[in-house]
Assembly symmetry: C2
Homo-oligomer: 213 residues x 2
Amino acid sequence: MRKLPAKLASQLYGAAELIAERGLDGTKIEDIAEATGIPKATIYYHLDGKNAVLEFLLSDLLDMIAGAVGVAVSSAEDARTRLEAAVVAQLGVMLEHPFLCRALVGDLGRATRLPELAVALRAAFYEPIEQLLTDGVADGSLRQVPNPGAVALSVFGAITVAGLTAAVEGPSDDPSADAVRLSASITELIFDGLAHHPRRGDCEPGDGPDQSE
Amino acid sequence: MRKLPAKLASQLYGAAELIAERGLDGTKIEDIAEATGIPKATIYYHLDGKNAVLEFLLSDLLDMIAGAVGVAVSSAEDARTRLEAAVVAQLGVMLEHPFLCRALVGDLGRATRLPELAVALRAAFYEPIEQLLTDGVADGSLRQVPNPGAVALSVFGAITVAGLTAAVEGPSDDPSADAVRLSASITELIFDGLAHHPRRGDCEPGDGPDQSE
DNA sequence: ACTGGTTTGTAATTGCAGTACAACATACGA
DNA sequence: TCGTATGTTGTACTGCAATTACAAACCAGT
């Protein structure tokens, strides 16, 4: 796993769509060779096999996500605001790279079984959120919940599943606009929930039925 | 895909742990034969191949989930209450069958590429939630959101990711107690959100900071 | 031109899924 | 009891595709 020459790296992306479409199993090394223009022997010279191709592509995606989220998270705002920014950032990268996302979903199992990727996955998706939730409690922008771990996981799930689904459903014309739209829905859910309650600040008891519970 | 004799079906479960551990790729048909005690030739007599083994195991899991959720959903309560029950039901089944869940995560890609399973997946996980959200708006127990589809997807993601992770992390001594605990965290998130706000009914403006937005 | 890394074509080699088939078992009605 | 249909299983075989081996270029830099 030496560092792959840049030219080859860029050619390898030509295999992303193929893998996304058919899964790694359904993709022969020969197909990858043909799609990328890199001969089989050369692929094997640089990479350890088919898995390594996937690993390369996905770790790149995860790095991009981790990077974008990292920027979003390190602003000076309160945690709630940074969480919103992180969601937009994460979805932005995902929608920007639908094929890689599809490949990720399609070979998630393999990905989690490749140790490096499993770590990168956590780092890209889960850890920033977990951190923001605890930050939010500290700076008062988010409320304290009884079981932060489980909640962080659910938030992570909400964002990631929505993003992956959107990415899988179809490449969009304007990924970043879609990312903003989608993240608005998600943040509304995770901040305000689905129950009826007065919005922050206003307080009309007539707003929702209040019998039960 | 005739209907597999009950005895074989039960033996097949012996392969779940193996597949969960190593993935379907890493599991040879011979291994499955050995683990289940069903000879290879017999497996091929009844099933169409390795994928069919996974398909059998997972469709069974999905049926169980769909069944349990179906019961939870069809009570006479309001949608919000039924959604809580559905979450408990879904998590209950998942935690009851950690190996199957691990196999599901591990071979999600394959699963979504097997048409029958893809449908069963939607039916077990996503559709009941989507339905409950619209029901909830109708009966007033949940509020209307701007983009119901995206929100349903996020709710689905929140529940499912939390459940799968819990199932993957390790078999528990008391699955149903864990399911209740976990579902409490999740429902709190999806109903009340993470922002500070007065709980339904009470209304102290001093409760949360109110400057921004 | 020499050396050490790359690149690539062309064979092997290997492992495993899936298939073929024959022998055997079991059930059940005639 | 026999015959037939259906299931069970061992064994050998086929075929595909991943991986490896290797030799012949190629391309710096010195």
